[in-house]
């Protein structure tokens, strides 16, 4: 089975609030000098791809779009975790792109890679949170689509997956080829590569293509980012002191006085 995992590199979403800022020129998060990581759920998608490969064999290809120099570390980490090869679509403007545009580039790159059985993405990106790349890709690649997947088992002709729903979860049979977006689950904790894996990753093939080579010109998406604003919070916290019994007493009194309970 050939699984392609789409990885996005983002500014570390765990940065403290005071390290977060919007660049007024690009209307995106300030990236300069900030640590870059693989977007949260993309690592879970890679972990799922590696687990499926361990069970049924095949190959895992990591695919990313970004400024080639910048995404090197993300690609090397994916290879060290166990991806067999990687493809980078070199695009300096990628951090500004929206899902519709990104999916078009990813689809073109997957087309050039040739055959695939499964494409995995994170369920959302840690920056723009559109949750749209997987369904877009499914259309472009004429594949089935399931989002927010936490588990997947290979069965005859396809997969049986667990999809997180609004109320719980669904068990879904899906035919291949398919595009799945993956969310986090206790079974999908990203593995930590060992030193020998990190060394081995240096020898794995990385291809770099440009967006122009793929013939994926930036198309009009009909959506412009007009403004990105950081809401100002003005809440002042009233700390309630004392031992636990006193704290409980005071809190309940305050909430009752305010008619909150």
């Amino acid at each position: 089975m050939h699984t392609i995992v789409c990885l996005k590199q983002v500014v570390d979403p765990e940065l403290p609030p005071w390290d977060f800022g919007i660049d007024p020129a690009t209307k995106r998060q300030v990236r300069t000098g900030k640590p870059l990581v693989i977007s949260t759920y993309d690592e879970n998608a890679l972990e799922l791809a590696l687990q499926l490969k361990e069970r049924v064999g095949g190959k895992v290809t990591a695919l990313t779009i970004g400024p080639a120099g910048e995404v090197k570390d993300a690609v090397r980490l994916a290879l060290a975790m166990g991806a067999d090869e990687a493809v980078v679509v070199d695009d300096a403007d990628a951090p500004l792109a929206l899902a519709a545009d990104k999916a078009q580039v990813l689809a073109a790159a997957i087309g050039r890679l040739g055959s695939f059985d499964l494409v995995l993405t994170g369920c959302e990106s840690a920056d723009w949170v559109e949750r749209a790349v997987a369904p877009f890709l499914a259309e472009a690649l004429e594949a089935a689509c399931v989002t927010f997947v936490t588990r997947a088992e290979v069965r005859e002709g396809g997969l049986t997956v667990r999809r997180t729903s609004d109320e719980g979860f669904h068990v879904v049979d899906v035919r291949l080829p398919a595009v799945l977006s993956v969310t986090s689950d206790e079974s999908l904790r990203p593995r930590l590569p060992k030193v020998k894996d990190i060394m081995g990753a240096m020898r794995k093939p990385v291809q770099t293509w440009t967006r122009a080579e793929l013939g994926a010109a930036a198309g009009a998406t009909g959506v412009e980012v007009r403004e990105v604003a950081v809401p100002q919070r003005t809440t002042k916290c009233e700390f309630i002191e004392g031992d636990p019994a006193q704290q409980a007493e005071a809190l309940v009194s305050r909430l009752r006085a305010l008619k909150i309970i």
């Binding site: 594949a143 689509c145 719980g168 998406t221 007009r226 990105v228 809401p231 636990p244 704290q247 909430l255």
Partner: protein
């Protein structure tokens, strides 16, 4: 007739709150853009008639009713197959979809097929001239982006519970039966449906008790459940407990999980990561209980209790029980 087209799914019951929220969104756009509102209601069974009535009662005149046995819970491919030709035939300017389990799979695919502009996870809608302004949270809720949707058609996927349910505004509506050409062999087939709904739903609870990594394990959530029970509320969690499997993922509150709007939110052992804060900023009063006085949650909270939740929560339960008894 071009206009605003609501994709209203009634896959497991009546229209529900999120369907009516789309009507609210449509009304916001309809007047300034001078567009009429119609809706497709998709599902199977008797409850479809109730869904149609609800749409008429809330001011949607023209309703296309699509009844097909494949249009049941979770069947996003069937919904897409049913709604796609209808959008092709009616050629609406704007298609509104709820960004629920099915909608988030359908909306981008519909946009792709009809070369439409797409905005997803939208939490507010507005109009500036002929441009639609769609707001949404970005960067784990740390910022709000305003998207200007300049082209038509446009598909807009609205985050459930973000928009208000509109007032009733009954109209004498019309219904057109639409036959769906759904392939008998779908590439996606929902085999089992599991509900992890708690006794009191997070969506509607007036009081929510949320636990974070600081709870330390699944055992601690029993204590939180006891507190929630005394308060008549629901239990939720930030991302780490859901990731760790201490609680069902449906309990997760935050950017990736649910957005809640209770009167009172008690954040217990929650540090206050942006991902979580994104889902609780609609709470009217926030109480934070955390042993770390520097935890970012205190900058959001109205009341702060610094200490060990294992001592504070039982004291709170006891005090509340006393108060109830007096």
């Amino acid at each position: 007739m071009p206009g605003i087209f609501i994709v209203a799914t009634a896959l497991e019951g009546s229209l529900g709150r999120s369907g009516l929220e789309l009507v609210g969104g449509a009304r916001t756009l309809a007047r300034p853009l001078d567009l009429e509102v119609s809706a497709a209601v998709l599902g199977h069974g008797a409850h479809l008639a109730d869904a149609v009535d609800e749409l008429h009662a809330h001011g949607v005149g023209k309703v296309y009713r699509c009844d097909h046995p494949a249009l049941t819970a979770g069947q996003s491919e069937a919904v897409l197959a049913a709604v796609d030709p209808l959008v092709g035939r009616e050629r609406p300017d704007i298609v509104l979809v709820s960004a629920d389990t099915v909608g988030r799979e359908v909306a981008p695919r519909l946009a792709y097929r009809h070369r439409a502009a797409l905005a997803t996870e939208v939490t507010a809608l507005d109009v500036d001239g002929t441009v639609i302004l769609a707001r949404r949270q970005v960067y784990a809720g740390r910022a709000i982006a305003t998207l200007a949707i300049t082209s038509r058609p446009a598909v807009i996927a609205v985050k459930p519970r973000a928009l208000d349910v509109p007032e009733r505004a009954p109209v004498r509506g019309t219904v057109e039966e639409v036959s769906a050409n759904i392939p008998s062999e779908l590439r996606l087939q929902v085999r089992e449906i599991h509900s992890e709904r708690a006794e009191v739903s997070l969506d509607d609870a007036a009081v929510v008790v949320g636990g974070g990594r600081g709870i330390g394990g699944p055992e601690g959530f029993k204590l939180l459940a006891e507190l929630a029970r005394v308060l008549g509320g629901a239990v939720g969690a930030s991302r780490p407990p859901a990731d760790e499997g201490w609680v069902p993922i449906t309990w997760q509150i935050g950017q990736t999980g649910k957005s809640i709007r209770p009167n009172l939110y008690l954040a217990v052992g929650i540090s206050g990561a942006a991902q979580h804060v994104a889902g609780v900023s609609g709470a009217r009063t926030i109480v934070a209980i955390n042993k770390d006085p520097e935890a970012p949650i205190f900058s959001l909270a109205h009341f702060g209790l610094v200490g060990d939740y294992r001592q504070i929560v039982p004291a709170l339960i006891a005090r509340l029980k006393d108060a109830a008894g007096t």
